[in-house]
């Protein structure tokens, strides 16, 4: 059985990191990240409706992000910076559903407390970062860059928290797997 948390972790990496140095298009495109998210959610052990919804949401986001990032290859912007920010907002909403699903799966398990704490911090920091970046448009040109940077720092922190949660879940999943193998022997 494949580990779903590895896919969630790599999905987060693909979505959050933009490596478009030397005039090249993004090496880690967002739509592959959403595809990994969808596959990771598909592998999660649950039959709740949340799983279906979040998986469909990930597929919709994958298609949308493909069209938003199309300008990197075609040089034609569909919505420009507004589209990127709108995708960011949709990503936060999507992560809310992912966390709902994870909280449902980790219910009454040792990971529950960690998942809940990460959910609290992740959502708060991510939304705060979004709000700060939204308000940074109307600041002076001198302040704009700094305020935008503070917003991105919040979002970086929240993504690091999610990666940390995924790592702990990964270790827990591996332990369960090993125990199962031992019990079979």
């Amino acid at each position: 059985m494949k580990n779903p948390y590895e896919y969630l972790l790599s999905g987060m990496g693909f979505v959050f990191i933009d490596l478009n140095a030397f005039g090249l298009p993004d090496i880690l495109p967002d739509f592959i990240g959403y595809l990994l998210f969808a596959y990771g959610i598909h592998l999660l052990p649950s039959f709740h409706n949340l799983k279906r919804w979040s998986k469909n949401f990930a597929i919709i986001l994958m298609i949308m992000s493909f069209f938003v990032e199309l300008y990197q290859w075609l040089g034609y912007q569909i919505l420009g910076e507004i589209g990127v920010q709108f995708m960011q907002f949709l990503f936060i909403v999507f992560m809310y559903w992912v966390f709902q699903l994870l909280l449902h799966i980790h219910n009454n398990k040792p990971l529950e407390a960690k998942t809940f704490k990460t959910y609290q911090k992740f959502m708060a920091f991510m939304l705060c970062g979004f709000v700060i970046q939204a308000f940074s448009i109307n600041f002076d040109a001198s302040m704009r860059g700094n305020v935008h940077f503070i917003g991105s720092l919040f979002q970086l922190l929240s993504s690091l928290l999610f990666i940390n949660l995924c790592r702990t879940c990964n270790e827990y999943f591996k332990k369960i797997k090993e125990n199962k193998v031992h019990s079979l022997e």
Binding site: Y96, Q100, L103, M123, C128, I132, A134, F135, N138, A141
Partner: protein
């Protein structure tokens, strides 16, 4: 001294039946209640809000009725200068208020419900509002000046410049003729 203190502490600990002075606490409670009632009757939010508002309305009605207007040109100039700072202050205030609301909701431990959906909707409306406001102020035009834009009507401007040049030429011609005469 230390031993005595410990002894006293133990003695107090061993007597949970000993209640504090009931009459005294009752008295304090009644006093507090009375002062609270007095405070609410004297300085309620309604009076604090209504008195200056009614005064302002009366002043406005008086101004309209008598047709007078205050000479506040200098103040108006100052306000236009301060307008920029004020918008920044309002922006920062709104941003901090919204961020603190989001932090409050999530650190309270809410996963579902009206408040959680409110954080999403409020942050979305904040984003839309900022975009609309930035569009209204046309901030980008002052920073980025494009060398060519499709919306700029070059032909009509060219015609206008030609007209002005023609007028100037004709005026110069007339003045020259006047000078010769």
């Amino acid at each position: 001294m230390e031993e005595r203190d410990y002894d006293l502490f133990d003695a107090l600990k061993k007597r949970p039946d000993k209640e504090p002075d009931v009459d005294f606490s009752n008295e304090i409670r009644q006093k507090l209640q009375k002062t609270h009632l007095k405070k609410t009757t004297r300085f309620s939010i309604a009076t604090i809000l209504t008195v200056p508002v009614t005064l302002a309305v009366l002043l406005f009605v008086f101004m309209i009725g008598t047709g007078q207007s205050f000479e506040l040109k200098n103040a108006a100039q100052l306000t236009t200068e301060w307008e920029k700072d004020l918008t920044i202050i309002v922006c920062i205030f709104l941003m901090l208020a919204l961020s603190s609301f989001i932090l409050f909701v999530y650190f309270k431990g809410l996963t579902k419900g009206r408040l959680v959906y409110m954080t999403f909707s409020l942050s979305f409306f904040a984003w839309i509002g900022n975009l609309v406001y930035a569009e209204h102020r046309n901030i980008d035009e002052t920073i980025v000046q494009p060398s060519y834009s499709e919306s700029y009507d070059y032909k009509s401007k060219r015609d206008n410049i030609d007209e002005i040049q023609q007028k100037q030429d004709s005026y110069l011609m007339k003045t020259n003729e006047g000078g010769i005469k």
